[in-house]
């Protein structure tokens, strides 16, 4: 086969357009950096991309790589939540609130009720899916746009979480108590993975679990009748209804599953003890919004999301290394939001690529025809 057929494959096109988004996003980030201060722009961008590779000793770099993937797991769960709902035609912007509420329940169960980790995870999962259910119910029975109800629920769950976790916070700081000191049974098991990352105790079962779940999401969406029904509802809910599918039930179920994924992500991160919740937090956690970036950058494919989440988390962590006297760490937020913006153009890029390919094919075939014509004569 020749080169053209590779470019026509949807997977290759998705990959190409994601790479184009990344390159353009980084370039736009570079321009912004240059505007702020031209002296350090190149090295700052390099710092962001380099992240933990900056450490010359391999074991140290490995440990920091461990930190990056510890934070990638919840990001991956958030992006799975987004893309699962998006495949069914719903935009689950409530993922940030579901994540916050999941955190609240998981930490409250772990610190206040002293429950083991498996119960904490389940609680977070159920609580967050309840939020999804509210959005779904409002969407299908009251005609409320899920984006607006999602945003309202985001703020409601942020305030609720802050209130709940104030009960279990340190007396001298706004942060919650460290699980390590309070309840060892609530920490996620390492199952030996910490050894792989130079004894990074935060690397837990959460990471393989997140990967398994993304494969599961792919399987459900692509290989089961249930997933097919959900997608059919997303394409055209009236058609789905007349085919005998329960379109209202499907909408609610989708958001329940999306919520559960986000809640799981929250528990899978906060039960490692890597970070404590700040009870005076005045904005919803950015993890949910970065999840949107990761979902679209991954071409809305569960397996693609694994890599895109890793990339987004990588540059977010890398943002912490830029020279603070020149730039601020929000520069990586800026880059990831530019990437989301560019993801809006993916459809257009694919269209343009296909048009160009068709044109080239046409030109090629007419040239071939001319060639064979000549050959025939000689």
């Amino acid at each position: 086969m020749n080169k053209e057929s590779i470019l026509k494959k949807p997977a290759v096109q998705a990959l190409l357009s994601s790479l184009a988004c990344i390159v353009l996003g980084l370039f736009a980030g570079f321009i912004v950096l240059t505007f702020i201060d031209a002296r350090g722009a190149a090295s700052a961008l390099f710092d962001i991309i380099r992240n933990f590779f900056r450490y010359p000793s391999a074991p140290v770099a490995l440990k920091y790589f461990g930190n990056t993937i510890v934070k990638t797991a919840p990001l991956l769960m958030c992006s799975l939540s987004i893309l699962f709902a998006y495949k069914v035609g719903l935009f689950n912007i409530g993922v940030a609130g579901q994540y916050a509420f999941g955190t609240g329940l998981a930490l409250f169960a772990a610190l206040h009720w002293q429950l083991p980790w498996i119960v904490c995870i389940l609680l977070a999962c159920v609580g967050a899916s309840l939020l999804g259910a509210i959005s779904g119910f409002l969407k299908s029975y009251c005609n409320v746009n899920e984006v607006i109800s999602g945003i309202m629920l985001n703020w409601l769950s942020l305030y609720t979480t802050n209130m709940m976790l104030t009960v279990v916070k340190e007396t001298t700081s706004p942060y919650t108590k460290n699980i390590v000191n309070v309840n060892h049974s609530a920490l996620l098991p390492n199952i030996g993975l910490d050894k792989l990352f130079n004894n990074n105790q935060y690397v837990t079962v959460a990471i393989p679990l997140a990967i398994v779940l993304s494969i599961l999401v792919w399987f459900v969406l692509e290989k089961t009748k249930f997933g097919y029904e959900l997608k059919a509802t997303g394409f055209n809910k009236h058609a789905a209804k007349y085919c005998g599918m329960k379109e209202k039930r499907n909408t609610i179920l989708t958001l329940i599953i999306a919520g559960a994924l986000a809640g799981l992500g929250a528990a899978m991160f906060y039960l490692t003890g890597y970070e404590q919740w700040q009870c005076t937090q005045s904005s919803v956690p950015g993890m949910g919004f970065n999840g949107i970036a990761a979902a679209f950058l991954g071409g809305l494919h569960p397996i693609g999301a694994i890599f895109s989440s890793l990339f987004i988390q990588h540059i977010t962590e890398g943002g912490a290394y830029v020279d603070k006297t020149l730039y601020c760490s929000q520069i990586s937020d800026l880059i990831s939001s530019i990437i989301i913006y560019l993801c809006g153009f993916v459809l257009f890029m694919k269209l343009a690529l296909n048009k160009w390919l068709a044109k080239r094919d046409e030109a090629g075939s007419s040239k071939d025809a001319a060639g064979t014509g000549k050959g025939g004569r000689s």
């Binding site: 629920l153 209130m163 005045s282 601020c328 939001s337 989301i340 459809l347």
Partner: protein, 312 residues
């Protein structure tokens, strides 16, 4: 009580401005979910104008601040217009991206300005407290804010523009049935650009009113805490009609104002409800109101659908 009235009016002004912005954009057929980001950018423009003009006569400060925030909002809204009208991008994604980009970009810019002035200053705060006084005229205990008057004038202007002019009726036609509008010679793309740009101007203005409404300085990394979306709820509750939007905004403004002043009202402070509950009130009420009123909502028919000349 005067304090409650004052805060209600100022928050209602924010909601009226931004909801009218959303209203113009949606009547032209484009859902503007990026209002939150537009607000942040407009607020940044206005705040910087106030910072650099501190000490100038009041009239200059007022006019320059309004012009700066409207202009920055307008330019920023073009990002939405280009993507959604010319490139037919998904309006939800672009709107969300603009919200994130607005907060991130404003934080980066403000921090860069602060650190370049003073290397130790890594805050995302603009000093505009002195200039803010130009906007306020005190009548006894009531602080009248010029923005309230501006909002009232713009509300009247919006009503006339939308219902009494050729432009407004054409704009609404583009949101209801763009093909029909096109068939009688209206340029749908231009109209949609106009709708989005008006929403940029109004959203930007709403942003500066919002951040100057409170007492303290505003940290840009906080964004505008969901006010853009509250405004969209107000717009839906107001059924995309300016007069109803104004009434809805007053109701929502009241609930938002309660969280600022509840401790000064005897009965409410005696109830001893935690302040978080008051912070949650506007969001709770809007969810409730949306659940009860959205069933029969009359949204512009063609909103959210990119216009394609060739489509049937």
């Amino acid at each position: 009580m005067t304090l409650l009235l004052q805060y209600t009016l100022i928050y209602a002004s924010v909601l009226i401005l931004v909801a009218l912005g959303g209203c113009f954009s949606e009547h032209s057929g484009v859902i503007n979910l990026g209002l939150e980001g537009i607000m942040v950018m407009g607020a940044m423009g206005g705040a910087l104008a106030m910072k650099y003009l501190t000490g100038a006569p009041s009239v200059v400060i007022i006019l320059a601040t309004i012009a700066a925030s409207a202009l920055v909002g307008l330019v920023y809204s073009l990002l939405l217009a280009v993507a959604c009208i010319n490139f037919k991008a998904d309006q939800t994604i672009i709107g969300t991206a603009l919200n994130m980009l607005g907060t991130a970009a404003a934080t980066v810019i403000i921090k860069a300005i602060n650190t370049s002035a003073n290397p130790d200053d890594v805050s995302s705060v603009v000093q505009y407290i002195d200039a803010k006084k130009s906007f306020i005229v005190s009548f006894g205990r009531f602080d009248f804010n010029w923005f309230m008057l501006v909002t009232l004038l713009l509300l009247i202007a919006a009503y006339i523009l939308l219902y009494k002019t050729r432009f407004g009726l054409r704009l609404m036609a583009c949101g209801e049935h763009p093909q029909a509008a096109d068939s009688v010679g209206i340029n749908v793309y231009k109209m949609r650009y106009a709708g989005v740009m008006i929403s940029g101007v109004l959203g930007g203005l709403g942003g500066i009113v919002y951040i100057t409404a409170g007492v303290s300085e505003w940290k840009f990394e906080n964004g505008v805490v969901g006010f853009g979306f509250l405004a969209l709820a107000v717009m839906i509750f107001g059924q995309w009609k300016p007069t109803r939007i104004a009434l809805a905004a007053l109701l929502f403004g009241l609930f938002r104002a309660l969280s600022n002043v509840y401790s000064g009202i005897g009965i409410l402070s005696m109830l001893n409800i935690p302040s978080t509950v008051y912070n949650m009130l506007p969001y709770m009420i809007s969810l409730l109101v949306l659940a009860l009123t959205s069933k029969n909502s009359r949204a512009p028919k063609a909103e959210g659908i990119p216009y394609d000349k060739g489509a049937r």
